[in-house]
């Protein structure tokens, strides 16, 4: 690659990838990811003809859930509940941050 070459990135929401690639992006194992999608714990996962599209939020969610399960031996449903709360916390912090800014 040349030093002046410009690489163009594409948002995950526009990227159709294999389950293995998706699992690597989430830093989880493919079997773990498939199991959690099947159980409805990671919404916004779309699959067509063996390739997948995930929102960025879902990727962060999968990483968080895997970490919670591993660090605290949390059952998947509990990890999903904590992930729900953390997502809400993210949103509230963003709102508070913008209020403080004004």
């Amino acid at each position: 690659m040349r030093d002046d070459e410009i690489l163009t990135g594409s948002p995950m929401e526009d990227s159709w990838v294999t389950l293995e690639q998706l699992a690597a992006a989430c830093t989880v194992e493919p079997a773990w990811l498939q199991r959690h999608i099947d159980d409805g714990l990671i919404p916004q996962a779309e699959s067509v003809a063996g390739v997948w599209c995930f929102s960025s939020t879902s990727i962060v969610r999968a990483r968080r859930m895997r970490q919670l399960e591993r660090d605290f031996d949390a059952v998947p449903e509990l990890a999903a509940l904590v992930a729900d709360l953390l997502e809400e916390l993210d949103e509230l912090r963003e709102r508070v941050g913008s209020t403080d800014q004004r």
Binding site: G9, M12, E20, A24, T27, S56, E94
Partner: protein
Amino acid sequence: MEFKDYYQTLGVSRDATADEIKKAYRKLARKYHPDVSKEANAEARMQEVNEANAVLSDPEKRVAYDQLGRGYRPGQEFRPPPNWDAGFEFSGRGASPGETADFSDFFAEMFGRMGGARGFSGGQRTQFQARGEDHQAKVLLDIEDAFSGATRQISLRAPRTDARGHVTLETRTLNVRIPQGVHAGQIIRLAGQGAPGSGGAPAGDLLLEVQFRPHPRFRAQARDLHLTLPVAPWEAALGAVVQVDLPQGGVNVRIPEGTQSGRQMRVRGKGIPGASPGDLLLDIKVVLPPANTAKARELYETMAREMSFDPRAVDAGASGPRSQGRA
């Protein structure tokens, strides 16, 4: 390279049981969890704790670490002897490759960036096919960049294994075009720009998480753009068309008659652009002109005298008969 005392990091003794290590790790993982911790440097501390746990919770790595680190003090200059890993077999449990990517040089030198999953035994690396690991980084943009797209230079530290099998960190610089329409928290994928694969397998991807710098006027929530719009009392009371400046030109917004401070107005499709563009959300703020001239005071006094208005009435929006001018 400095020696790291993983026992000290987790606050356990060298003869701690696996259960004691697990308990100590969980306690610290809760204390420094980056999503909730109020501790200073929580993210960096969590990384150190994760690294220590990745070694001490894995019996194979722990034995190797204990043997190699005997006699070393924290911070002491450390260099493992050649072929130190002969006689050890790592099965690759614990942290995933993505998670070990940010671990210290000390960890990289001892166990590589594969978190032990590189599959070698007795110093002889086994040839196998494996896709390269994904690399993650953050890219800081201005909200204006989401409207026009942006090109950023990103420096990444990536592990490389030298001829003697030692892992060193190399810095590489990439010029990356961020497409128009990105929003905070979004992950941008650069296919094939992660770590190289092994045995002819493809490279991993580079995943960039978008973050926006704080903006004095705008706040972005997904693709919606929030803005506090100051209006004059007469614009709010009588209605008006006001111009709102946006990163790519202005938009004229009609303020309806009788608009109160705090009202939110939505202008569809004028947020961050994209296949589904976001909306512009205007929080109306009525701003009073100062009564700092004789004329301004006279105007306020005229209103006070001639308008029967009580802002503290139950229905604050309606004028009522109870207020008669100034108190």
